[in-house]
């Protein structure tokens, strides 16, 4: 079992992204980074400052950024293309589909500002269906890391693996959960707490909430199994089936619409041996302006809500 706990330390995943990019850039001169006028926000500008000749700002033209990324990839480049999740996927969907996923080119789309915790910008900028869009594309792999440590590992791993990836991270600083590097593997989930009453499967920002939910449940005498699932596609079917078998009840937690994301992926993985599944996510509505924490609370993306729903599921089993 890998060591996971909510530490006092917080670090922004975008900072982890840019550090990892620079380190990759030093090792491999084929690493090229594109952005679409959000390089200060996504933090790719730091790469651009160190390697100006390998950084291209495409201006406010996200769809074309994806086509350009594909063209670079055909010539042997390892291309990282970044902007906010809403523009990276929604605005650019056809470019990603036609020019990246279909020809299976070596483009890594790293999207920041995903989810409702974008906050004040409101629903126009709170991307809640990006995993659904990207999961639906053949050849596309989808990753949602939980903290800065894992984010660095993700960047290194996807750079080594040929072909397209979509990585989604949030805007906010996030607590460090993994103090040591090295666990992340594409397609693997991690059982970070053992339990037999109910399985909580969480991804991205929600893994920290799930860890807190575990503590709440423990105080109430409920032993939850806790799974961190950074790899949404491919997903760790074996681990999901094990969780279903050992607990008989599953809750999925994602800062994403309940349609098409982690919940659906988990349901698919246990299609032949299903157990009751409750999905925590944004319930098929657009978000709104507000503080990040306020929004997470209003839309039920909290440890307290996870614990409440988990307890109900455990009681229903009896």
């Amino acid at each position: 079992m890998i060591e996971a706990r909510i530490t006092e330390k917080r670090r922004n995943l975008r900072d982890a992204y840019s550090s990892a990019l620079i380190s990759l850039g030093e090792k491999n001169e084929n690493v090229v980074v594109l952005d679409a006028d959000l390089a200060l926000s996504t933090k790719t500008k730091r790469f651009g400052t160190v390697f100006p000749e390998r950084f291209f700002d495409m201006g406010i033209a996200e769809a074309t950024m994806m086509d350009v990324a594909a063209g670079l990839a055909t010539c042997g480049k390892i291309v990282f293309a970044s902007t906010f999740a809403v523009f990276a996927t929604g605005r650019s969907y056809d470019s990603i589909r036609q020019s990246i996923a279909y020809p299976e080119l070596n483009v890594k789309i790293v999207a920041t500002h995903s989810g409702i915790s974008v906050g004040g910008d409101g629903a126009s900028h709170q991307m809640l269906e990006d995993m659904a869009l990207m999961r639906a594309l053949p050849n596309m792999r989808v990753i949602a890391p939980a903290d800065a440590t894992e984010m660095e590992d993700v960047v290194f791993k996807i750079a080594e693996a040929d072909g397209p990836f979509y990585v989604r991270i949030g805007r906010e600083d996030a607590p460090i959960i993994f103090e040591s590097h090295g666990h992340f593997e594409i397609g693997k989930g991690y059982e970070i707490r053992k339990g037999k009453d109910v399985a909580i499967i969480a991804t991205g920002t929600m893994t920290a909430e799930a860890l807190r939910a575990y503590d709440i449940l423990e105080k109430r005498g409920i032993e939850a199994m806790l799974i961190h699932m950074p790899s949404i596609k491919p997903i760790d079917e074996k681990l999901i089936r094990k969780a279903a078998k050992e607990t008989g009840a599953i809750i999925t937690c994602e800062e994403h619409t309940i349609i098409g994301g982690l919940g659906d992926a988990v349901a698919m993985a246990m299609h032949d041996e299903p157990v009751p599944l409750y999905r925590i996510g944004v319930n098929d509505v657009f978000g709104e302006s507000g503080g990040a924490r306020e929004l997470m609370e209003k839309y039920g993306l909290t440890a307290e809500n996870i614990a409440e729903k988990a307890e109900k599921m455990v009681n229903r089993k009896k």
């Binding site: 090229v32 000749e53 390998r54 291209f56 495409m58 201006g59 033209a61 769809a63 074309t64 994806m66 086509d67 350009v68 990324a69 594909a70 063209g71 670079l72 990839a73 055909t74 010539c75 042997g76 480049k77 291309v79 056809d94 470019s95 589909r97 036609q98 020019s99 279909y102 020809p103 299976e104």
Partner: protein
Amino acid sequence: MSSIMPSLINSPTYFIIKMHEKAVIKELKRKALQIRKWVIESVYQAGSGHPGGSLSIADMMACLYFHEMRHNPKNPAWEDRDRLVLSKGHAAPALYAALALAGYFDVEELKNLRKIGHFLQGHPCMKKVPGVDMSTGSLGHGLGAGVGMALAAKLDKRDYRVFVILGDGEIQEGSIWEAANAASHYKLDNLIAILDRNKLQIDGPTEEIMHLEPIAWRWQAFGWEVVEIDGHDIEEILHTFHEIRHNEKPTLIIANTVKGKGVSFMEGTLSFHGKPPSEEQYVRAMSELEQAEGELND
């Protein structure tokens, strides 16, 4: 073709060059006719496809693959090859015919266009077809991909060039203009876009559906060099390619063409944009093209 010093015009050397030019042009005309025949054959065999816009680029394809582009059919992944992106991917039959003629794959495969289990997809797929440099089909993406390839050449200090073939209706897509803007911003003098100006799109004449003119002015305003030529005149195409070699900006060649060129009853009509010939039309088309081949040999 090569520019000739005025003093050379009456010399024996000039005579030899001219004879050579004539032979080259005749051979390219032959290649273009072969491409046209195979477009008709493959679309007829497939029972679907886009003959009109494939025939309009046949002369350009012949000039690119058999004169202007640096490429090697025995090594489709050659890093220093010139790239070709068929952004108007529905003209795939013309691209496939050119590739087969160049030796990228067996000519017999053209009969399996659009057929299940065979590799010639309805629109170009780079994963399946040797010689296809970029998968296309949904309009508006090829120029952006071409920008990426041209940027990669600059990064790697390689001297290959990138040719992108655009449909005229296609430039109604906004992403074409995003890419056009990026090309001049990054000073991509190694990028050449060729606009197949056949003046027809599915719903009607381009200027009636959604106006494109003044095309040259618009592209110049986006920072491109623009030349306008007859896209069926082999000599003019070759001359233009020679002239633009040292342009310091990305170049747009507006190739004025006729949709369905080479088959009388397809020329200038809308009906063969995305429809195959009937059996009777197929026979007529092939006989017209064979007659043109015969006339070329006389």
